[in-house]
């Protein structure tokens, strides 16, 4: 038994010496690992409308005005961003009827009044007859930064008015019904402002706009 152990020990010794011999055949060196980390940021924010009171938005008579002030606030840990608000208005056919002489792009003013000058209309609004709705997308002209006061936009608009022209007669004339009222949906979109450069013939804001999927 003793001899067997000795033989295997010898074999190990031989292997050890042989492999050691091979690795030191040439002078060689290696470094320690050099480690870098690249932490990616987030783009984050929220849309709010502090003055909007949902309970008040029922049983509205034509001509009634309700405060509604959509704006976007950038989160404290967000990267700087361009921001957009998409406004979707339902029952577009009725809106069109009561706003004789206005283009599709101007229909929004019948509901929301003047759009704040800090915002730019990005798309070409047109009534989607299949969905009976119209979409307006506004881009904020200034990059939002995470530190106040640059972290929040101006109000896109300040109130929604039920057009005085929305009378029973006019509704009937459109062939549509307005039993459930109409809806104005606002949704915010944000995109990093760094590394976006103006594409051919477009502003940087327009280029940023084309990089967002608003569907």
């Amino acid at each position: 038994m003793k001899r067997k152990i000795f033989i295997s020990a010898l074999a190990i010794a031989l292997i050890a010496v042989l492999s050691l011999g091979a690795t030191v055949a040439y002078f060689q060196a290696k470094t320690e690992d050099t480690v870098n980390t690249f932490k990616f940021g987030n783009v984050d924010g929220e849309i709010s409308e502090p003055t909007w009171i949902p309970e008040n938005a029922t049983n509205l008579a034509p001509g009634k005005t309700l405060p509604k002030d959509p704006k976007i606030t950038l989160a404290a840990d967000s990267l700087d961003a361009y921001v957009f608000i998409k406004v979707t208005v339902s029952d577009a056919a009725i809106l069109k009827t009561v706003t004789t002489g206005k283009t599709d792009a101007e229909l929004i003013t019948k509901l929301a009044g003047t759009i704040d000058s800090g915002w730019t209309l990005m798309n070409t609004p047109a009534i989607d007859t299949a969905k009976d709705e119209i979409v307006y997308i506004y881009g904020y002209n200034t990059i939002l930064t995470k530190t106040a006061p640059g972290n929040v936009t101006t109000d896109l608009f300040t109130a929604i008015t039920v057009p005085g022209e929305i009378t029973e007669e006019n509704i009937t004339a459109t062939g549509a019904t307005l039993a459930d009222g109409f809806t104005v949906t606002v949704k915010g979109y944000l995109i990093q402002s760094d590394n976006i450069t103006a594409a051919d013939g477009k502003t940087v804001l327009q280029t940023a706009y084309t990089n967002i999927d608003f569907s």
């Binding site: 040439y26 060689q28 290696k30 470094t31 480690v35 870098n36 932490k39 990616f40 783009v43 590394n195």
Partner: protein, 188 residues
Amino acid sequence: MKKKILAVALAVAMLAIVGYNTIAYFTSTDDAVNTITAGKLEIAVNEYKDGVKTAAGEDGVTLKFTDVKPGDICPKVAKVESLTGSIDAWIRVKVTMAWDKADLLTDNTVVTLTTADGWTLNTDGYYYYSTKVSTASETEFLKEVKFNAETMGNAYQGAVLTVTVKAEAVQFANNGATVDAAKGWPNA
């Protein structure tokens, strides 16, 4: 009897003459001592931020980039230093990358490493430097790391990429005409 003694004495005297002969030449010995010192091979990876050499922190991380976003070009300059007294060497560098989230890509559609001139990425995953590196020199390897805005998306938000650079060297002398022919790399 007396004669015999004389003969012996003479013989002894003769022997003495022989003995004298042996010291007729002045002799001297002198050892020619040669000390053969084996050369050493020592390299290091140095990193620079805004031109300033940066040491690793306690967590072993040399450079930390934060709030990185698609389209960013991070100035990550890495150089391989051949330390003073080191012999001539061939060098190669391996870069490994890992995200802290699953399903994110590290290939060059997403992350592009801009290397200095003279480096070639081989199929074994190492970048090889084509010429000899001499003692007390720095060889620039990496210039910047680029993140491709076209291929990244929201999946990369908040993710952390760890990039590890490791350099290896092998003696230049008597070891191939080109870096591709060099043998004896560590870990090979």
